[in-house]
């Protein structure tokens, strides 16, 4: 119960519960919209911004935000060339940004070590960091609640969504903006590499277990927060890096969910029709 007595651990625990819940719920929509790659890419692409903020002595949140905006602009610019395509544009931009960030981080003047930027510094969270994470997480949760219907229509039936008053492309853009907000909020504590685990693993586990969208959202938030608590407890107990421990806890929860509920049947899982169904009824 060391967690309850140390101020450092208490702040880390609170930050993990807040971020885990917000990232978990957001992750459900990211996975339903098949944007896991975007989640990983955005997190990696902000590394140069983090390093530059560290060099300039500016708040890391500012650097993370700037890094995301710069990466999004570069991706949009590269994707305008139809010969390149959006996936290649994302790949090239992210690799370039990550490499640039790593080179900058090797400069002797960088106060924060590369390891801290990549893997986070949960125990270094100040009260200000905690408040910032709380505000950003509340923003994400509020936006998801208000946009619930639009997200449902955009995921379920993008072809018919416009006739239901929903523009799927706008919904996807808004979700990516929320992803950027959540990543900025979580990157300081969990690091550039490990934030992805909290965005994807609890959501993937919840999608195995939940029978409705709402239950998946609630489960993912609970599993995200639970992964934070479990990971921090293990980290304190066996003295390993907290961020890595949280990521491993999140993945372990997913593995347990996958064991408890193996993959869905082909009929429920995809668009494929049986040969008989595809032929239709003879007239």
């Amino acid at each position: 119960m060391e967690l309850l007595h140390s101020g450092l651990l208490q702040r880390a625990l609170l930050e993990l519960v807040i971020l885990g819940a917000a990232c978990g719920a957001l992750g459900v929509w990211l996975l339903h919209l098949r944007h896991a790659y975007a989640a990983e890419s955005l997190a990696h692409a902000m590394l140069p911004g983090l390093v530059l903020a560290s060099l300039a002595g500016a708040p890391l949140l500012l650097g993370a935000g700037g890094g995301v905006i710069a990466a999004a602009a570069l991706i949009a610019l590269a994707a305008r060339d139809t010969r390149v395509g959006s996936e290649v544009a994302v790949g090239v931009t992210v690799t370039t940004a990550f490499g640039l960030g790593a080179v900058l981080a090797l400069a002797p003047d960088v106060p924060a070590r590369l390891g801290e930027l990549l893997f986070g510094d949960l125990l270094g969270a100040s009260t200000q960091d905690l408040v910032a994470a709380g505000v950003l997480a509340a923003l994400v949760a509020g936006a998801l609640a208000l946009g619930h219907r639009s997200l449902c229509a955009a995921v379920f039936d993008p072809a018919a969504a416009p006739s239901l008053g929903v523009r799927p492309q706008r919904v996807e853009l808004a979700l990516l903006a929320l992803l950027a907000v959540a990543t900025v909020a979580a990157v300081q504590g969990l690091g550039n590499l490990l934030v992805f685990a909290l965005l994807v693993a609890p959501a993937a586990a919840a999608m195995r277990l939940g029978h409705s969208v709402r239950s998946q959202l609630v489960l993912a938030a609970a599993l995200g927060a639970g992964a934070g608590v479990l990971g921090l407890a293990v980290s304190a107990e066996v003295d390993i890096a907290a961020g890595a421990s949280v990521a491993l806890a999140a993945v372990t929860l997913y593995a347990l969910a996958a064991l408890a509920r193996p993959a869905a049947s082909p009929r429920a899982a995809g668009r494929r029709r049986s040969p008989v169904e595809a032929l239709g009824t003879p007239r």
Partner: protein, 248 residues
């Protein structure tokens, strides 16, 4: 009810997906309240383009006049079957457009959605997951969603493709009721024989080939101009089958 002034008036409509040659051009037709129009054409002939243009999703030239926003009933396999929503959830989507983002869906709309599911014969399956229903049942749920939208113009994309006989009869019955209520139905179909049962046929192949009542419109010449080598005329020339070539 198949007479009266036009409830849908389309004049010289062209639609494109971007700069350059339009994907569909020269479409002019009108439909009175209560009329069902079969939209025929080969794959890529412009049926979906016409629907997207009428839904306001594509830049168009020409004029389109109708009352209120149309409802679109897509083919059921275009929906995400792995998304965990119930039949009632899907029917309720018909109320999204009239519900402000900051409000919950009204109780009256919930009652309307339940009635719509009852009307398509799925009242007892309201809580079942959409993806677990049969193809025909899913199509009926999508029709129920259009009923909740309460649109005067319905665009139905091959509503009978891949559905079982019971669902086909149920959908046909609902469409007849909708016509009796004075709604205009545009039904994209590959089934030429079925098209003969509707009030009008619109033949498309990148442009409008023909429009009018089925009997005088669906001539061998019109069908050949619409389908090219994808048409097979049977027997005495009064029956024709569209043979769709699919790319693999």
């Amino acid at each position: 009810m198949t007479g009266g002034p036009p409830a849908l008036q389309v004049n010289g409509l062209s639609a494109s997906y971007g700069p350059g040659r339009p994907a569909l051009r020269g479409v002019t037709f009108s439909a009175a309240a209560g009329q069902a129009v079969a939209v025929l054409g080969p794959n890529g002939g412009g049926k979906t383009t016409l629907f997207r243009a009428l839904l306001g999703e594509l830049p168009v030239a020409g004029s389109v006049r109708y009352g209120g926003a149309p409802a679109y009933v897509p083919q059921t396999e275009r929906s995400r079957l792995d998304f965990p929503v119930s039949a009632l959830d899907v029917a309720l989507m018909g109320a999204y457009a009239r519900t402000p983002w900051y409000r919950r869906i009204a109780a009256s709309d919930r009652a309307l959605a339940r009635r719509a599911l009852l009307r398509v014969g799925l009242g007892e399956r309201a809580a079942e997951r959409f993806g677990a229903l049969s193809g025909g049942q899913r199509q009926r749920v999508l029709v129920a969603r259009a009923l909740v939208q309460d649109a005067r113009l319905l665009l139905l994309d091959e509503p009978f493709a891949g559905v079982d006989r019971a669902s086909e009869d149920a959908i046909m019955g609902i469409l007849d009721e909708l016509r009796a209520e004075g709604r205009v139905l545009l039904i994209a179909t590959h089934d030429i024989e079925q098209a003969r049962d509707w009030d009008r046929v619109l033949c498309l192949r990148g442009e409008q080939i023909a429009y009018g009542p089925p009997a005088p419109t669906l001539t061998t010449e019109v069908l050949e101009a619409t389908y090219g080598d994808e048409i097979v005329v049977l027997g005495d020339g009064e029956r024709a089958v569209a043979v769709q070539h699919h790319a693999h």
